[in-house]
């Protein structure tokens, strides 16, 4: 035993016969022992960052994981990605926490926001995917931010798929021991519409609603899917009410597993 697990005491009650029997009890005992002796490296998402969007906070048990990555897939036009960002800005502004927005295609519109709600925001206006990834790489390592939003919507699917998976895992490693919430927004909507355009107006008229889109960020603990599309009547509603009924689905959640194991 000591030859295999050098740091385990010889007098530890777990004996080789337990292992040899292979019963579920012995495996559970071994797991408990290993968990005690070698605390897991995986983070525990005890802290969450409330989004201010009730639909999301209810689904996720309080908000986005601090110390983890949340991917938000906005597959269709006007599905509420910018509204979610507005809610996040308002929620973090209320807590007077710093936020960085890595704006992949320089699409953020400050005039859509109250001037006082932008005082805590660092806006990084990128032009290319490389710039956005590089800037995000730097920002996720800064201890001053409570939230970093990386908006990669609008880049082609092939470009996003060309991002090495190690990038997402590197970001995950960078944030997992901090209380930073990292949000990555992805979508392919404009380009799929452009594709429909190439197919011709008849075919494009036959396509109703967004297609199901898989996520791209492999290391995301939480993946939210903005399932609906807003209509013109939304202009008559208050932003807070729109955020309240933001159509969202949870596509992946590792939060509950982590909380259970914690």
């Amino acid at each position: 035993m000591s030859a295999t697990f050098g740091s385990i005491d010889e007098s530890t009650p777990v004996a080789p016969p337990l292992l040899m029997r292979g019963s579920p009890e012995s495996l559970a005992a071994l797991r408990r022992l290993l968990a005690e002796r070698f605390p897991p490296a995986a983070p525990r998402f005890a802290a969450v960052l409330p989004t201010g969007a009730t639909a999301i906070d209810e689904l996720t048990g309080g908000g986005l994981p601090a110390g983890g990555i949340t991917e938000v897939v906005a597959p269709a036009s006007s599905s509420g990605g910018q509204l979610l960002m507005l809610s996040l800005l308002a929620a973090t502004r209320a807590r007077r926490a710093r936020v960085a927005l890595v704006d992949g295609l320089d699409a953020f519109d400050p005039q859509s926001h109250e001037p006082s709600s932008l005082q805590h925001l660092i806006w990084v206006r990128c032009r290319t995917l490389d710039e956005a990834l590089h800037a995000a790489d730097l920002l996720v390592r800064d201890a001053n931010f409570a939230l970093v939003v990386v908006d990669l919507r609008g880049f082609t699917l092939s470009a996003l798929r060309g991002v090495p998976a190690t990038t997402w895992y590197r970001w995950q490693r960078a944030v997992e021991r901090t209380d930073l919430a990292l949000v990555v927004l992805t979508t392919m909507a404009p380009f799929r519409q452009a594709l429909r355009q190439a197919q011709g107006p008849e075919q494009s008229r036959g396509t109703q609603g967004p297609e199901r889109v898989e996520g791209l960020v492999g290391s995301a603990q939480l993946r939210l899917y903005l399932a609906g599309t807003f209509q013109l009547a939304a202009f008559d509603e208050e932003q807070a009410r729109l955020a309240f009924r933001l159509p969202v689905e949870v596509q992946r959640s590792r939060l509950h597993e982590e909380r259970r194991s914690a």
């Binding site: 699409a107 005039q111 807003f230």
Partner: protein, 556 residues
């Protein structure tokens, strides 16, 4: 009364060598080209070990040591090194004398006696970090302290790796070390028995290293040592006469008398020496006896915190430049600490060979005296800097400020790491452009997309009361620049749009909203605006300017 002397041997050579990263440990020598043939005036230990001596020509030196690096004297480098030496000296005491090139004398009055040696050793180690190899001597008079500092050179080279433990006083080492010291000590002439009227008065009492060692106290550090004189007479007696710099004619007479050590000279009665050799003889006797004392001439630390250097070789890569800047920053940080100040701003100037200059100011997010933080600010900028020509000179000016004394409020949300924050923003600015990072501020105009980016606030202010009229609708996601569109219009407005991003019939529309402004300026705007919903889904802002349709963005 006690004095310390910091002594940097071969100072002019060290001053040049410390500005180049790749010269450390290599044989190097300094050429003096005032004569018709340039000759070597100083050589470091590696060069001397290879047989290079002072007075050789460059060709002769290279014949003896092919790898030798030959450099000319640099007044700027010497000035910078002297500033470093004095900065370290001022960290020990405010009364510091600039005695000679590479030598400064420090008045230790007021300091506890048991701290003289440790603090002097720390000063030597600090100078080692600044690239200067020095020795320190502590004694009752400035002259004795100078002798001690010069003699500390014969101790084992502390730049070599030392066996653990690193802190111990002389005499605690093993026999191997003592043998080594004995060998070094024997470089001085042997101690002959001196007789006076047939009686041997100095009978080799100090003929071994261990005996002489009892007269001094040595403190070793990781990279330097300091020597304190405890028994002045015992310390001076076995030392050669050459140590007290006798005039050549006197040296010849004393040699003729068979006097070779200071002890041999001071064993003779002082009045008799005066009667035979005159006042010069008396002065020499007093120096040999350690009786010469003098007041020091203190100099005042400068009020400016600047460093500048003309480079002997043009610099085209980052590393040599960073190496020099690190030297500057380390020295300036020490000067700031001595003055109880911190740096508020940095101004960097690079002189290029094409006679142009690159200048850049750095306003630090929070005043600091930390050399690492100051250096990082420069490093971050230089990493992405491309100059049109090579660099031939570099200068750095620090604007000092009083240390910030601020107590954070219980609910203040200041930055956790202000310097890290500034560095991150600088790095991000280097990636996307410094003008594309910041906190957005809306301009006081109705012009579309009118905003500016400002430096982030140090503290995020509390949230003001919400407006009475809550904001309606969806925020806009802008297309920069707007996308040109072809629009078919009907009776109610746009009916079908086509552009490179979207196309399709319009299901619903609102508008037009006419807008115009600043028509009295060249940058005025004028047009009509529609909000449309496509049948395919999606809400867009459509504008028409000068009979051309544009999609300004998507409501999201």
């Amino acid at each position: 009364m006690s004095y310390a002397v910091l002594h940097a041997a071969d100072f002019a050579l060290q001053a040049v060598v410390r500005t180049e990263a790749d010269l450390d440990g290599k044989p190097a020598a300094l050429l003096e080209d005032r004569a018709r043939k340039a000759v070597i005036v100083q050589a470091n230990a590696s060069a001397r070990a290879a047989g290079v001596q002072v007075g050789l020509t460059a060709t002769q030196a290279m014949a003896r040591c092919a790898d030798i690096v030959l450099r000319a004297r640099s007044a700027a480098a010497e000035k910078e090194s002297e500033a470093g030496l004095l900065a370290v000296a001022w960290s020990l005491s405010p009364r510091v004398e600039r005695t000679a090139a590479g030598i400064c004398t420090i008045d230790l009055a007021g300091k506890a006696a048991d701290t003289h040696l440790p603090h002097s050793r720390e000063a030597v180690e600090r100078l080692r970090l600044l690239g200067l190899e020095t020795t320190a001597g502590v004694a009752r008079t400035p002259l004795l302290a100078l002798y001690a500092a010069r003699l500390a050179r014969i101790f084992p080279n502390v730049a070599e790796p030392q066996p653990a433990p690193t802190h111990f006083t002389g005499g605690n080492r093993g026999s191997g070390e003592n043998e080594r010291k004995q060998k070094t000590f024997s470089q001085f002439p042997p101690l002959p028995p001196v007789k006076n009227q047939g009686k041997e008065i100095v009978a080799n009492r100090y003929d071994s290293w261990s005996q002489w060692q009892r007269c001094v106290k040595v403190e070793y550090g990781i990279s330097g040592l300091a020597l304190e004189v405890k028994d002045e007479r015992g310390f001076l007696s076995p030392l050669p006469l050459s140590l007290v710099d006798p005039p050549p004619d006197l040296a010849a007479i004393l040699e003729g008398w068979g006097l070779r050590t200071l002890g041999a000279l001071t064993a003779l009665p002082k009045p008799e020496i005066g009667r035979r050799l005159g006042q010069a003889g008396v002065d020499l006797w007093e120096r040999a006896a350690g009786e010469t004392d003098r007041p020091i001439d203190p100099c005042a630390p400068g009020e400016s915190f600047t460093a500048a250097m003309e480079l002997e070789h043009e610099v085209e890569t980052l590393e040599p430049l960073l190496f020099i800047l690190r030297r500057f920053v380390d020295r300036l940080a020490l000067q700031l600490a001595n003055a109880h100040r911190v740096a508020a701003e940095l101004a960097l100037e690079l002189q290029l060979v094409d006679e142009t200059r690159h200048q850049r100011g750095f306003r630090l997010p929070e005043p600091t005296g930390d050399a690492d933080i100051l250096f990082r600010a420069l490093h971050t900028h230089l990493e992405t800097l491309r100059t049109a020509a090579a660099i031939r000179g570099v200068g750095l000016v620090v604007t000092p400020a009083r240390p910030l004394e601020r107590q954070h409020g219980l609910f203040d949300t200041g930055l956790r790491d202000p310097h890290g924050f500034a560095e991150t923003l600088a790095r991000v600015g280097a990636v996307v452009g410094a003008d594309r990072v910041g906190t957005p501020w809306l301009e006081l105009t109705h012009r579309p997309d009118a905003f500016s980016l400002a430096k982030p606030a140090d503290v995020v202010a509390p949230v003001p009361a919400p407006s009475l009229l809550p904001p309606l609708g969806l925020p806009l996601r802008r297309f920069r620049p707007p996308v040109e569109a072809r629009v078919e219009t009907g009776l109610q407005g746009p009916a079908f749009i086509q552009c490179r991003l979207v196309q399709g019939p319009v299901r619903q529309r609102r508008g037009p909203w006419r807008r115009s402004g600043e028509w009295w300026k060249s940058g005025g705007w004028d047009g009509e605006e529609w909000d449309i919903e496509l049948e395919n889904g999606g809400l867009f802002r459509l504008t028409r300017r000068a009979r051309q349709w544009w999609i300004e963005g998507m409501y999201d």
